[in-house]
Symmetry: C2
């Protein structure tokens, strides 16, 4: 069978499975999720043997240490996949929930009911745990899912998919509800992205290159996750200790993720009080600071930031710092250089807190809290499938509800249109 | 200036205007809408003069009568545009509304707040009134909009845009919040569809050809409106008079629109009671019936339906009729041949009503009411910008709320991530 035929058959089978999944009672779905959670642990030796095959060829092909690290399934990965599935099983089932209902003057009762999206395609890079994490969330919402991982992790992904398929079969649910693309050929991705007749949504998970490729080539709607150039603005009159703790947490707690702070904006009236101690704390933690000329005058030991720094997502222990003359300048800076991802203000002023919230258009806007809270789990959505940086359908962290849509249900007693 | 430069400059200006629009108070937006509503009536002579230019060239180019009809702006069109704007002004402003809020165990207060999408591109065919109707809705939700109408209606569209721009200027709002593409060149559309850096959403309004072209070529998310192959299923035990009235209304009241019934499914146990009278009523109204073999045995005067009929959107006084042995067969038929648009059941059975609602995945599912109610106004959303047949972002009628997204707002008192 050609790659193209393989993919089209998978997409058709997923569509058929999605119709059955849409009617699957919550309890059955949760039963499958818990079965997989058990099986992943029980079959960990098998998973690791298959993963070892991928690791051997990765090393033969000379992949980077970072890539091999992402590719590796160890005990922690196994437990994290299993625990993740148990958490997803405990979430409320979004499918079938009525989000709103109202009555029309002619007596029609109208409501909006959540239903699964249908078929979701996930295109991801080397981490094999995405196979389980993403499949679990899509499945919980009643969707069928097609997973296309990196070619270097095919053995690992197929081992995990086999465990899922067995659980589906044992529970009497459609096996084709979760499928892993079984071929390495890149043509598979191109074909997948053209199946808009069968697939309702594509979620790419990986670097910017992968995401741009998918956006360029997909006929199917894509939920994108571009970069996070996140800002904290420390306002005049902010609690200095709170501001320090929030900025430190936002930069240092986990610098390699999208919701870490990349630029700190400081009101000029407090810069001389705030920056020396804050700068020391950052330097002690190994953070390289790149500042605007005014910042450089206060912190003599740092380098000047160039125009290139402001829009940069470092994902590292590097921070750019700019002194601004007021909140308006801070908001303008954010709107010019930011990525609409996560922005925070530290302030004790009621009016400026309100204005910051109103005027900053990012997907998560925080007052007196760390940018690191932009995360589905932290914000109370349960596990997340990603953080959307485009505004359509979902903006910000996407939980299981974002894997559904709504239909209108109308109850009448014979109404016709005049 | 080249077409490409023109379009890119428009898109950039729209993005800048959208930032101002996002902060515009509701009262100012409504003031502009009412000003335009007045101006459209006051300037009707001017609008019709410009429209006449379009009509003259359309006739010279030998466009069809149907196209010339759609292109014509008459008194009724003027009043309808003006009334439409007044209605939109009266709708609640969706921007800034908090759709939900909750508290986290660590004290963070999280909420989801509606914000405008940003910049919306509308690509439409000959009806000039779309210029006003679509601009009004996008504007109400706080978006900037770029309108690209059919090249045959450019004079009319520019006249209408001029009226809008004047109202924006007089109210001190950004003039670039509503722009009409000033060139006929088709290259303009291609360029527009690549401005994903500045434009957040494309809504094509027109025939299937236009929509497919936009989907194929857009890098920007598209809200699509494909065909409506709508079904009414008349169940065993349904109230015969109610069923007749609903089916008649669904087919005959306005056959040329997407929510008209195209196929009637009838339970075999009531077919002999129901079809003769129903068939006569349809025939008297000039409806051509195409039936399955069993239907043909009951209604001797009709032609047999071919396999091609079942997935066809006639948009005309033609109806296909199929006798089914039970509701399962009806649902299977809908799922095989339907377009996920609008489906109704006429029944008096509680359990089957519930099952139909649950098992039919169309954007609007009705019990004992006409399919013609799939309409934003009829369902209580206010004016509609279209009916989405894809599931992402919006499924079914889209009102002003569907022209917004939500951001997360988080209030804390110093929380940092552990």
């Amino acid at each position: 069978m050609s790659v193209e035929t393989t993919i089209i058959e998978m997409a058709k089978a997923a569509k058929a499975a999605s119709r059955q999944m849409a009617l699957c009672p919550s309890a059955r779905k949760d039963e499958v999720l818990l079965r997989i959670a058990d099986a992943v642990v029980k079959q960990s030796a098998y998973i690791r043997t298959e993963n070892e095959k991928d690791l051997v060829s990765a090393k033969e092909q000379g992949l980077s240490d970072a890539m091999i690290d992402r590719l590796t399934v160890n005990d922690a990965t196994i437990i994290s996949m299993s625990d993740g599935l148990r958490e997803v099983a405990q979430l409320a089932d979004p499918a079938g929930a009525v989000t709103r209902s109202w009555k029309r003057p002619n007596g029609l009762e109208v409501s909006r009911m959540r239903i699964p999206l249908g078929v979701i395609g996930i295109i991801y890079e080397s981490r094999p745990n995405v196979t389980i994490d993403a499949a679990g969330l899509c499945f919980k919402a009643g969707n069928a899912v097609i997973l296309r991982g990196g070619s270097e992790s095919l053995n690992s992904n197929q081992a995990l998919a086999g465990i899922v398929t067995k659980a589906l079969r044992e529970t009497g649910l459609p096996e084709k509800a979760v499928q892993v693309v079984p071929v390495r050929d890149r043509e598979a991705v191109n074909t997948l992205l053209r199946q808009d007749e069968y697939i309702d949504l594509i979620i790419p998970r990986g670097g910017e290159g992968l995401i741009r490729f998918v956006v360029e080539n997909s006929k199917i709607p894509v939920l994108k996750h571009y970069k996070g150039v996140c800002h904290v603005y420390v306002d005049d009159g902010a609690d200095m200790e709170m501001a320090q703790n929030i900025c430190f947490n936002a930069k240092v707690q986990r610098p390699g993720v999208c919701n870490a702070m990349e630029t700190m904006l400081v009101h000029k009236l407090i810069a001389r009080d705030f920056l020396p101690e804050m700068g020391k704390r950052f330097s002690d933690a190994g953070v390289e600071i790149r500042g605007c000329p005014e910042t450089c005058r206060i912190l003599s030991y740092i380098n000047e930031a160039s125009e290139k720094d402001w829009p940069t997502e470092y994902l590292d222990l590097i921070l750019s710092v700019k002194i601004v003359k007021n909140m308006n300048e801070a908001i303008r800076h954010i709107s010019t250089y930011g990525s609409d991802h996560t922005e925070a203000i530290v302030t004790s002023d009621y009016e400026r807190a309100r204005r910051f919230v109103r005027e900053v258009g990012s997907s998560v806007v925080l007052v007196n809290a760390s940018t690191r809270f932009n995360d589905g789990g932290q914000l109370g959505l349960g596990a997340e499938i990603g953080i959307s940086t485009t505004k359509l359908h979902a903006f910000g962290p996407m939980g299981v509800e974002e894997l559904t849509t709504t239909k209108f249900v109308v109850f009448g007693d014979g109404q016709i249109r005049q």
